[in-house]
Amino acid sequence: MTQLSQSENMSSLFNQTITQLSAALIAGELSSLELTQAIIDRTQAVEARVKAFIEFDEADALQQAKASDARRAAGQSLGPLDGIPIGIKDTLAVKDQPLRCASKMLENYVSPYDASCVVKLREAGAVIWGRLNMDEFAMGSSTENSAYHSTANPWDLERIPGGSSGGSAAAVAAGEAIATLGSDTGGSIRQPAALCGVVGMKPTYGLISRYGLVAFASSLDQVGPFTRTVEDAAILLQAMIGKDPLDSTSIEAPVKPDYVAALKSKKGPWKLGVPREFFAAGIDPEVKANIEQAIQWYKSQGCEIVDVSLPHSNLAVPVYYIVATAEASSNLARFDGVRYSHRSQEANDAISLFSKSRGEGFGDEVKRRIILGTYVLSSGYYDAYYLRAQKIRRLILADFEAAFTQVDAILTPTSPTPAFKRGERSQDPLAMYLSDVYTISVNLAGLPAISVPSGFTQSGLPIGLQVIGKAFGEEDMFAVAHAFEQAHDYQQQTPQL
């Protein structure tokens, strides 16, 4: 069971923020070597219980830390991220490190190149740390679909951390990294962030390059940060944005942003939308009460709370499971046992090579989604499913665009329930899919959104508040979230491990 943290816990390096740590590094009070060693020590202390990682390389991290200290000593520090250990979800390519996507299909695969967002982190001097557990190929909401092991929620080790970026969320909550990267296709950053009591955000589609992010659903996937604070998330986002010539879908923000400056200077009050469709059936009463309390707080600060309608919300989950699985069925076709993925020893011709390798290499949920995606694209069904779903997607976006003519940001719960117990939903895929009901439409619309800790249930499980911004509206989104965070102490609290 969880407890509220002690202040002694808070002074530990592994619980501090990028903002605090970079100040200490600059002031010479701390070295990256010390910081990284603290992270390694913490990981070794708690990892047997949390299991956030698939693997990590202490020697490599310490070497990067030493290089950071050397840069700083030579007066060549690279900025606020220099020397900060950042964990990487196992779906992002890091040169010469395993890239498994928590799957047996890529058990022995080592990436020969860095993802573009990782290149940016290296250019910022960050210490790239470990391979974080996830649902296999990013398909899941609990990290129980990992082919290696499941990750525990640090607030209650019997419960799941959420997914698919469960390892990334748990690592920040447990102090095994100062920040981590995850990926979000239907809520895979925001939902685990809410369930683990940390900050997690997904940028506007296209802001962070997808080159080096193993594709699940190309038109929905985005990389994003997990951090202890909203300001830390802003620092990480700032370091990773920019049009990448290697990703045709990446885009430069229309106006050059400064996220940290914005969240400090923008004080509101704001016009905040609350979509009536998001508070209907299926929401846990404690979550509902908590979010309503959060909304009341904004109102008490002078914000105008506007009742908005997103009428096509009820279609978001079905549309997502058509579009995302269709794209995934095609994106995962490359895993065929020919070049670099698992190859069955039982095959004796091309067809059996493909079918046996894929049969052996993929887990059940991945297979389920590939079959579904293949079906909705198949001859005779394309118009009724895929094409129709894409049309409805336009309507979902139009709902948001209409709402944003009236408001600056939209507030919703991130997850309809707090963390559930391991095994509770793993036999019921549809129940699992509904974990993402509040996050999914944001990906379909390509909008930015952030989950910020908003409190705890009676039994001490974290709850998250989601703030959705306009396209390229991260500055307002951060400001709205930051204001809430600074007025409460939820991000100070850490699980007892």
Binding site: Y211, A215, A217, S218, L246, D247, S248, V338, S379, Y382
Partner: protein, 486 residues
């Protein structure tokens, strides 16, 4: 019952770009296996395609040369199928919105003989679109080897309407297409290197019928002779089936070169469902109309337009244009030479006979023929040679010798004439004296000539030419001889 054949072709042409369709990996034929790859070519996890703009431009040029409409917007689709040569197990192609729409190609059918120009007609096209090539499989006894060097190379797929009715027309189409594409510097179209590949769709129907019969698709024909042979075989095969009262199965067939038969690959029921959908990693392409117009204005003259112009302006006969026109560099060489000395027929003759002979001399021993732009001769050389012959400096016969020497040393003709002392002799006295000696030495020939045999004169010319080392002015010699013995 008389049947007529209906044939449509799909031709894949590798575009002559420096790098591949969706990545900066380079391409060149013959590199060591799997050395022209990168993360995108191999479909490594996390890799993404990026459009090669020069491939778009080459395809726009191709579309212009084939009178296509260039789309305002075109986009990319995924064609999903599993095959070991396909790194992503989908091919990026253009299913719904191709780059070029419609179009036509002028073809020339063979005439009654090689020296007589055949009829021209237009073959209608349906579309041209861009896509990426898969890798190359080599089948060994127990293994299949895969080389991904070719994977990702830009292909233009040209689809004709079912507008041809014989193997002859199909072959004429392919030849005309090759020449046109090479003219436009769009591809080298070397079928042996796989730079141009052809699929043929063939059906037959009762003569005069408007309804299309069931068609079969013949895949991956990699030489023009295979195209001819497979089409003829297929027409015969289908005719036999229909005449026996059977019906044609719609299927894909493969041509077996060794046995000269076709066999079924897969039937319609087993046909792939490609599950086409728009590629979400690439954005639609908007074609800038100004640039499209610029590319159109910069096009070279088309081969048959050039042929007509050479026939009209330079009055070249078909026997010369049929050899000259297929090679753009040769035509340029010709026109440059004519600009220096206006004797088009003579210049064309030197190019099509002597120059081409010398250029291909090396290829007898396995090397490929030299290209006209790679040899040492310039248009000025040929122009000068014809000029000094026309001026009477040397005879045509000597001219042949000068040409051979000129090709070796690249000296100007006048230099060679000077150096080897080949100047024509028009010394009447000298020649007359030699004629008298020849006549005196060959009474039999004189008698034959006087009896009416014109050719007997050659026996008298011989010794004179020999005595003058071939330099006697032939016209003068002829005139003087006749004067003496007529």
């Amino acid at each position: 019952m008389q049947y007529e054949a209906v044939i449509g072709l799909e031709i894949h042409v590798q575009l002559k770009t420096r790098t591949k369709m969706f990545t900066a990996a380079p391409y060149n034929y013959g590199a060591a296996a799997n050395t022209l790859t990168d993360a995108v070519v191999l479909g490594l996890p996390g890799s993404l395609p990026v459009l090669n703009h020069s491939a778009i431009e080459k395809c726009v040029q191709l579309g212009h040369m084939l009178d296509c409409e260039i789309a305002e917007v075109c986009k990319w689709d995924r064609k999903n199928y599993f095959y070991p040569d396909s790194p992503k197990n989908y091919q990026l192609t253009q299913n719904e919105q191709p780059l070029c729409i419609g179009g036509r190609l002028e073809i020339e059918l063979p005439g009654p003989s090689r020296n007589v120009e055949g009829a021209h007609r237009w073959v209608t096209l349906n579309r041209i679109h861009l896509e990426e090539d898969p890798g190359k499989l080599t089948h060994e006894a127990f293994d299949t080897l895969i080389d991904f060097n070719r994977a990702g190379v830009p292909l233009a797929e040209i689809v004709t309407e079912p507008d041809m009715s014989s193997s002859e027309e199909a072959v004429a189409f392919l030849n005309a297409l090759r020449n046109l594409i090479i003219y436009g510097n769009i591809s080298d179209c070397d079928m042996e290197k796989g730079q141009m590949r052809c699929d043929a769709n063939i059906s037959i129907r009762p003569l005069g019928s408007q309804k299309l019969g069931t068609r079969t698709e013949m895949k991956n024909l990699n030489s023009i002779s295979n195209v001819r042979a497979s089409i003829e075989y297929e027409i015969e095969r289908q005719t036999e089936i229909l005449e026996a009262g059977g019906s044609i199965v719609q299927e894909t067939r493969r041509w077996d070169v060794d046995q000269a038969i076709s066999f079924s690959l897969r039937s319609k029921e087993e046909a792939h469902d490609y599950r086409y959908f728009p590629d979400p990693d690439l954005v639609p392409v908007q074609l800038d109309r100004t640039r499209v117009a610029e590319l159109k204005a910069a096009l070279p003259e088309r081969p048959f337009d050039k042929q007509r112009r050479f026939q009209t302006k330079f009055e070249l006969p078909y026997t010369l244009t049929s050899v000259l026109c297929p090679t753009r560099e040769l035509c340029q060489f010709f026109e440059d030479a004519v600009a220096l000395h206006p004797a088009p027929k003579a210049i064309a003759n030197y190019i099509t006979n002597d120059l081409l002979r010398e250029l291909s001399a090396g290829s007898e021993h396995g090397a490929s023929a030299l290209a006209v732009n790679d040899c040492q001769l310039t248009p000025a050389h040929i122009a000068n040679l014809v000029q000094i012959i026309d001026a009477g400096l040397i005879s045509k016969q000597i001219g042949k010798e000068v040409f051979t020497e000129m090709f070796k040393t690249a000296e100007m003709p006048e230099q060679i004439v000077e150096r080897l002392g080949l100047k024509q002799s028009s010394d009447s006295d000298e020649i007359e004296a030699l004629c008298r000696a020849a006549i005196a030495g060959n009474a039999k020939a004189v008698a034959q000539y006087q009896a009416g045999n014109e050719k007997a004169l050659n026996a008298l010319k011989g010794p004179v030419m020999k005595a003058t080392q071939g330099k006697a002015n032939p016209a003068l010699l002829h005139q003087l001889l006749k004067q003496l013995i007529d």
